[in-house]
Symmetry: C2
Subunit: 433 residues, 2 copies
């Protein structure tokens, strides 16, 4: 039922006119990247595939649709028997994308592909927005680990998906336990100010945490006075103290002060974690500060200014009455799209650096020898190809992301606003449909 009303009324009208069973090719793509971004990161493909297994209409759903007269009996009967039987292919999760990259293609009857529109776009738009923001943070953080801590700033289920997307883009771990449970991702955490305030003194709180969680734990040192807290922490835990967390104030200055203090007390291996509304720019500003890891929350789960990837889902080709596929595209002002089934490869130069995104209309563009084909098959005739979902899917997507970033020109990592780091080029064959 992650479906818009109009998908089912269109289904009804198409069943009525007999066009519902025409095969069609729907394509999910982004007309543009968020303002100033150099690249996007595909997120959500694995979740789409997982969700499709349960994309059915049960008794409660059918009763609702019937009682509210959303659709007629013929349509209800069709929905009751729905199970996706077509093909789904596209970019691997974790892969980079650019304007008009054919990120996900769904080929089936119009009826089957039409009703997936909202679900497919919800997942891709959300997860890709988060993965794209996360990747920039990872670039800014360099070799220092980033920990995802944004669950409280977004819807409770978005939080799990955001955490998953962050790990795909290179985050080291997450505070979100549901993500750990579902995807085998490492979970981590420190402590909150409330824990300190619960106790009569900061010393009581630190003693309690160390006694229960061991000296390797990370103590939050800014509830009252940072210097006092750091000295107390070292007094209580000794040189084996795992870490301290700073969550307020001028983080650059404070990181230097705390590092000096820790070192002067002999705690040279105690780590400093910083949090407090970090985004990719704040992380970059901390590059020269003695920080060991970043906890990132709000900016991550809100896509750092771009909370949705603005992908659309368009019919690009469909059968006619003779069973021949014809390219279709709307001509609407400022929203025109390119018809025809798409193929894509990433053009690489002899040094393995990406130079363009080549999209073929109707057939695969010619590979000049170094190019890397981008389209993967996820579902064939309704059957899922193994390896794209669950914990394995997340691991593979993270590896894919690392490899794809390594191909990019260095300018991809620039944080300042600019054009996509490589252009998208169409290659159309004469016979294209």
């Amino acid at each position: 039922m992650f479906t818009d009303n109009y998908e089912l009324t269109m289904l009804q009208a198409a069943l009525h006119s007999g066009t519902a069973h025409r095969r069609g090719v729907f394509e999910a793509f982004a007309r543009r990247l968020p303002d100033g971004r150099r690249y996007g990161v595909v997120g959500g493909t694995g979740r789409i595939l997982e969700g499709l297994e349960n994309f059915r209409f049960g008794t409660d759903e059918l009763d609702f649709l019937a009682n509210n007269k959303v659709v007629n009996d013929e349509t209800l009967a069709w929905l009751a028997n729905f199970k996706f039987s077509g093909d789904i292919y596209g970019y691997a999760e974790g892969e980079l994308y650019f304007p008009n990259s054919p990120i996900l293609t769904i080929e089936s009857t119009f009826a089957e592909a039409c009703i997936l529109e909202t679900y497919v776009l919800s997942v891709l738009n959300h997860d890709s927005a988060i993965a794209s923001a996360a990747s920039r943070m990872i670039g800014a953080a360099g070799s220092r680990p980033c920990i995802e801590m944004g669950s409280r700033r977004t819807h409770e289920e978005s939080a799990v998906a955001a955490s998953r997307a962050a790990v795909i883009a290179g985050f080291h771990s997450t505070s979100n336990l549901a993500c750990g449970l579902r995807y085998g991702v490492l979970t981590q955490g420190t402590a909150a100010h409330s824990f300190t305030l619960l106790h009569d003194t900061e010393e009581d709180a630190f003693r309690a945490q160390l006694a229960s969680l061991g000296t390797g734990t990370t103590l939050l040192v800014d509830t009252y006075d940072v210097e006092t807290a750091v000295r107390l922490a070292v007094d209580l835990a000794g040189p084996a103290l795992g870490g301290v967390r700073l969550d307020s104030g001028d983080l650059v200055a404070q990181a230097h002060e705390v590092r000096s203090l820790l070192d002067s007390l002999g705690n040279t291996s105690t780590r400093i974690t910083v949090t407090s509304d970090l985004d990719e720019f704040a992380i970059a500003a901390l590059a020269a500060a003695p920080v060991d890891s970043y906890g990132v929350g709000t900016s991550l789960v809100t896509g750092s200014g771009a909370p949705t990837a603005s992908m659309v889902y368009k019919l690009v080709s469909r059968e006619d009455d003779h069973g021949e596929f014809v390219s279709v595209a709307k001509a609407a002002k400022n929203k025109a799209s390119v018809g025809g089934k798409k193929y894509a490869l990433r053009r690489l130069n002899e040094r393995g650096t990406a130079t363009s995104e080549v999209v073929g209309i109707g057939s695969m563009p010619a590979n000049d020898g170094n190019d890397r084909p981008l389209i993967q098959q996820f579902i064939a005739d309704g059957v899922l190809t193994p390896g794209w979902t669950g914990a394995e899917g997340v691991r593979r997507a993270a590896a894919r992301h690392t490899a794809s970033m390594a191909e990019m020109p260095g300018a991809a990592r620039r944080l300042q606003r600019g054009d996509p780091v490589i252009p998208t080029e169409y290659e159309q064959l004469a016979t294209a449909t």
Copy 2:
């Protein structure tokens, strides 16, 4: 498991130190409104109460926590038996809020209240962000209905919650079927460009839609040429044609042209719905155009520039060893908070117009006669008060929102950036804890 790792490790440490069973008062509030906003709208309270019923730790969750050594056996045993037994009170859903309004208060043992932090904040931060944006759109739309159509631009479960929040803030209906199913909200829709493209001609598509859905349906008229499509629609449907939808181009100019054309063809009662990346400013710009309803998507589900409400959850009071409550607050730079259990009322002048938000610390502020108390009890000793959840909760919240908006000074509806429309004032009694 909508929980952050640190909540459970803090729980473990507090169980170990014996402080876990101290009673504590946690408060959810926003230090500030999103930049330039005049007011916020409380969203999500009903969903929190619904979710609490299922906030348990089952076998899968406990196994995960054990296998990954997140917490020790004592903590696992406590979690296995967890069921919230405390009190929850605060602002009714749909109510307006201002900086430091005590929106939700959770009073229980530290252990019970601590582990709810992430879930409570996720729901409040997401749903309030959407409700707050939606309310501004409703103000801009005046008496014209707004239809929520943003599901595809956000996570599939956020979409349901966003749709619910939009209706609370005054939206007429939603495209989201899952929201209709769960909350009894009216669902609506038109048709997509893909439906036109599926057919060999626009005429075939319009005929199919009219034949199946009746002449009262809304036809999408901008797939090819708008004027041609409007003439065709009127030809096929006659004067009873329900509506046409415009989704691209210069909507103001096009609405005037289409209205003139429809009127000249005799279709004076055919409605015009506009969509296409509308936000409160675009809606306001269409106020003088002959538009009958607005379909709002991306801007709604992303909070129109403020995708999270930035609420925090702080321990403000807790028992000491003698069972006495003491106010607590952290002193951290730029993030200090105000300790003590809070009460609140809205100060109204003799004409019933709000003049300030009065927050009492430790006790209810004196009511000057016109003032309206704001705190409602949702859960007492673990038992839910009826009326706040489900479809009834949504209906009541929408009514609450309308009534609360009616009390506000006219400046609340201004779209340009400004300060909160009423100030928040603290009233502290000498004996406050």
